[in-house]
Amino acid sequence: MMPRDPLQQALDGTAGGAPAQPARRGFLQEVAALGGLVLAAGLPGVAAADDEPKKYGADGMPHGWVDSPLVYVAITPDGTVAIVCHRSEMGQGVRTGLPMIVADELDADWKHVRVVQAPGDEERYGNQDTDGSRSTRHWFMPMRRCGAAARMMLESAAAARWGVPVSEVQARLHKVVHVRSGRTLSYGALAKAAAALPVPARDTLRLKTPDQFRYIGKGKTTLVDAQDIVHGRASYGYDTRLPGQLYAVMARPPVYGGKLRSHDASAALKVPGVLKVVTIDGMPAPPVFHPLGGVAVIATNTWAAIQGRKALVLDWEGGPNADYDSAAFRASLEQSARAAGPVVRQDGDYAAAAAGAARTLSAEYYIPHLAHASMEPPAAVARIKDGKCEVWGCFQSPQAARDNVAKRLELAPADVTVHVTLLGGGFGRKSKPDFGVEAALLSRAMDGRPVKVSWTRDDDLQHDYLHTVSVERLEAAVNEHGLPVGWLHRTVAPTILSTFNPTAEQEFPVELGMGVINVPFAIPAVRIENPPAKAHTRIGWFRSVSNIPHAFAVQSFVNELAVAAGRDAKDYLLDVIGPARKVSPELLSDHWNHGESPERYPVDTGRLRAVIERVASEAGWGRKLPPGHGLGIAAHYSFVTYVATIVEVAVDSKGVLSIPRVDIAVDCGAVINPDRVRSQMEGAAVMGIGAATLGEITFREGRVEQDNFHNYQVTRIEGAPRQTHVHIIGGDYADPLGGVGEPGVPPILPALCNAIFAATGKRIRSLPIRDQLAT
């Protein structure tokens, strides 16, 4: 992909995928050297002073946002419009989506747009942490302003050239037109003059009205990397090649926190192609983004390094987590969930509600650790020259890679450049740049020569920042109609916070705000408790994060209550949600609210109800089904987006499960690239099905038991839904946007299990399903 583009080369200092120049020479000089419009120094990000009021959305992110065309747009005399994408592409479509927004406001012809990937530099580009389903919702407006400002600069340049008032000219598809005379000037011809003009002030920008949009909301834009991908030219972290590059693989402590007692590399060094064996020190807990440490084998090619690693004789000390055992740990979580714990939300008096109720029901749900298992395992290349380090890799958060490499090498961040390749999947794993730091340390050990560290699949599964493991216990007090008047939810799971704070044993607001406390049900007495749980491995964020176990438990339990009440599952769910209303997240004890303003983003039960009604009507809820088939429904609000899902399952006489159809209704507000919203929902269905049916990482004696796709299974084509129908609600472009990358996953798991119950009468409370249906 990128390296063939001269503009990308300018930014990278690369050529043809084999970077030849020692350092990033700078976008400005190089593109200027091409003779184009361009404009330099960026506006600073929004810096938050300590005494300022709380900031939300993009304002609240580190380094905020930047909306200057000086940073994001370059136009060359041949009319090529280069648009910088500063967020990481991992399949969500951001390299198409964000530049498309700029191009639309700029009224650029998409055929002449080149997308240029930014290096990690948040002071220049604003926040780049591609996580939390935030890219489009935080950057829609800055990117629009960026494009509009560039358009107005071109219009001003044309008006000056013709000596006419700017009100008489209009940008139209890569040209500026003098409306009265019909004269035109191309963007390329105007670029240089436009470059010399000041950027219009924000309050003078004329944004398009939605009826003028050319690309936004249309879904007709080709993916920018599609041709490179289908021809094998797209370049991922694993594909980076520098001249003189060496190849490394590492043996890391099999137990988190374990240390190397001794090693013997003599046999490894005899493997043809192996050059050197070096050790890297791990760091004391917490894990943060530090390399785990271990023994690296550096060779002339990856295969030799892998063979060398096999030949190492290693003696590891287990350390404090050497007894971590998944079966025993599950029992301890269950025990915690059966006793009272610290209260994290309380409305009314649950005990009184339970005492006065017609009936109480309870259930426990279990979801194991999950590994991200992106098809591209982590990989990075680093080289060090003249006290400066350059790193190439598949980073979701390139600034974090830069900061962590700088810290470990004791360099100033300015002396570290992080180039972002395409990511072969991310799902949260690649937010943690430990592998980039490994590459930098290995380059240092080889006197600065470029060294690539490749994680093999077993490395990836055995040393992931895993999705947590959780037990969710729910209890409901129901009235004579079977409707809940009291709700008790105990959530017990090692917290992501433990990755940053070794004493953390409770879910923090980010996890609690993912579908456990911010459940907007019309229930008078709600008590939510969070008993402690200790982490024994690196806990990370996995696509949709804690929404997965929380939604699985809550939406399964509501379904169980509906069954107990003898009610239709969809009608019952709507009754539990109650009437349409806007609930302040603060009232639900959610002071995080996905980082968004509680005023702009209340929890809107009307929107939640609407996606349920829509999906029920589209999927034909209540329709007659063949024997062995069942429909299940679930709805969940996450990443400020509302999703309702209906899964149709078929379970044959042997208990073999198949999924004829999935329907998903999504309300993420207005939609920028409908095709990528659909593809994210389609993919979420497959990932959710995989987590529900197959996914499980287990520990024994502190070690992960799985090491490849035979024992950590993921969904293959035959397990995917036969049909997936995505129903987009849509919205007003003036209203706040919701996330798209993650909110599709959580409702899949309970909808699937609810469908299995409908088909078979078997209730699944422990995932994965695997052979639980076998007869």
Binding site: L223, I229, A234, M375, M687, E718
Partner: protein, 155 residues
């Protein structure tokens, strides 16, 4: 020194003959379109064609392919069926992250050469060895059906 015939061109490679083809392609020859995903023929990311049949490059040693015709994703557009598959992939916006898609396209091309009009069952059987973690399977099926119905593309 082993000479490999890749996409119609000879490529001498100075690696031990038990080296898997995958690493010769990627590290020695710089042909990085063929991807590593598992190393043990479980995911299909490294699928190439050897004398027209799909093979997992990660477990195919150089010794076994010397003298044979190897086609990789970089050369599959020389085959009219491969070109149809690539076009159908773009038309259906199949890729998300794209990492597995080289292997998917190689498997799909081999399928269509063998069975020009596969039904869903045949597609699932032929494509079961190729994992896509982004979950593009529905579009893969659609694209294969589309490629099967397509006229020979103009190159």
């Amino acid at each position: 020194m082993i000479t490999l015939n890749i996409n119609g061109h000879p490529h001498p490679v100075d690696l031990p003959e038990d080296t898997p083809l995958l690493w010769a392609l990627r590290d020695a020859l710089g042909m990085t379109g063929t991807k590593y995903g598992c190393g043990v023929a479980l995911c299909g990311a490294c699928t190439v064609h050897v004398d027209g049949a799909p093979a997992r490059a990660c477990i195919t040693t150089l010794a076994t392919v010397a003298g044979k015709h190897i086609t990789t994703i970089e050369g599959v557009d020389a085959d009219p069926v491969g070109r149809k598959v690539q076009q159908a992939w773009v038309a259906n916006n199949v890729p998300q992250c794209g990492y597995c898609q080289a292997g998917q396209i190689m498997s799909a091309t081999a399928l269509l050469r063998h069975n020009p009009h596969p039904d869903d069952q045949a597609i699932d059987t032929a494509m079961s060895g190729n994992i896509c973690r982004c979950g593009t399977y529905g579009r893969i099926r659609s694209a294969i059906h589309q490629a099967a119905g397509m006229q020979e593309p103009q190159s």
